[in-house]
Amino acid sequence: MSGVRVLVGTRKGAFVLSSDGKRERWEVSGPHFAGWEIYHLKGSPADPNRLYASQTSGWFGQIIQRSDDGGKTWTQPGTPPGERTTPEGMPKAESNKFVYDTSAETGKPLTTHQFYDGTQHPWEFKRVWHLEPSLGDPDTVYAGVEDAALFRSKDGGKSWQELSGLRGHGTGPQWQPGAGGMCLHTVVLDPTNPQRIFVAISAAGAFRSDDAGKTWQPINRGLKSQYIPDPTAEVGHCVHRIAMHRAKPGVLFMQKHWDVMRSDNAGELWQEVSGNLPSDFGFVIDVHANEPETIYVVPIKSDSEHFVPDGKLRVYRSRTGGNEWEALTKGLPQRDCYVNVLRDAMAVDSLDKCGVYFGTTGGQVYASADAGDNWSPIVRDLPAVLSVEVQTLP
């Protein structure tokens, strides 16, 4: 019987929630990496036992962890516990080392971006926000980092190289940090075209590569952001999240700082589909696994009040690819609720009745085994949830 594994990153560790295909009874494993911030963990589509985790700390920096047994055990790639360095004195791996590429060979070494005070500021690595394993190779994984850049490992996370064409394509000096820092938080891979990669950056916007990450272009036409001097500028938009259905890779859905958007031409042009949402501010957006025009968001009251409107936790579903939205409330608190749902904290499984999952800053992870009609908490009292990913197991 098929099963589901929910990977939860929190402010104080990672948790793995497991169930069979009925999704009624859950086993909870964790905390893994107790006390550390786990910004994101995700499994390889090519090998479900291969998981990657971003373990980070304001004190100790960035750690990359890998599991080859579905989250039972973890190691820093290439550095088994207690093993010494090579005879030459070099570490066995540099899995924690993220160094911006400033080499002349890459053409446009770029060292500054716009800072809060309008001055140019050097890029400084802080943490990995998002790990996106390759669709076909378990050893290849992308990392979206703060300060915004895209890195790739081709050796299972042992070493990382920047895809510097993104920072170097020309608009980098105009990027600036949002309230959460200047982070590359979304990486979407096209399942039909291995050359095509989408990324999103706060606050710069969305970008696309059609040559496997070598060169990039901004794809922000149609976005309007009143919080930047030119609301329709080429870059500067605070994109919170992008989602795609694997059967329609040219259709993208976006939760922007304000506004829910869609594009039917791989980001060439966006149109607003916020429709009747009670607020079009939010962080998450995701697509039903089996219905490419069914999408989910969780409206948040505003950018100054990062909690749900009216004290009610409501997922909104559109079965028309946007504009017409219905509130999904069964099993969710409808009074005195003031949580947030962060950008990486919603995911879907691919079972016949699509499961939808999200985590809150209040430490709850909610699940629906019927595409959002009914909800129940898997866990209620975890640390604040930063990310939720789901694996559908054979």
């Binding site: 004190w59 920096g61 516990p81 570490p91 924690n96």
Partner: protein, 98 residues
């Protein structure tokens, strides 16, 4: 032989409990001790000092013999009692946050 006390999170990463001990060739300094720590426990590379600048991470402190050595030169000799193994070098996570 230099005794080093790591903060709990780094003990977890290095899979050790209690104090660790490292051998240093040449003068015992903050730099040579951290070099030896990273050689023995490569998973700690980048956690005590930045990968690129090699500077101490701002929220980590070096204490020994009831003194804060954090602002000493990384190449300054460590106190005699640390060099002799009588006292440990404490690597401490600054108290901040939740």
């Amino acid at each position: 032989m230099i005794r080093v006390v790591l903060p709990p999170h780094l003990k977890g990463l290095a899979h050790v409990s209690g104090e660790v001990q490292v051998d240093v060739t040449g003068p015992a300094t903050q730099r040579s001790v951290v070099d030896a720590l990273e050689a023995k426990y490569p998973m700690l590379r980048g956690t005590i000092r930045d990968h690129v600048t090699q500077q101490r991470r701002p929220f980590l402190r070096f204490f020994a013999c009831e003194e804060d050595l954090s602002h000493e030169s990384p190449d300054a000799p460590l106190p005699d009692d640390v060099v002799s193994g009588k006292e440990p070098l404490l690597i401490v996570g600054a108290i901040a946050g939740g």
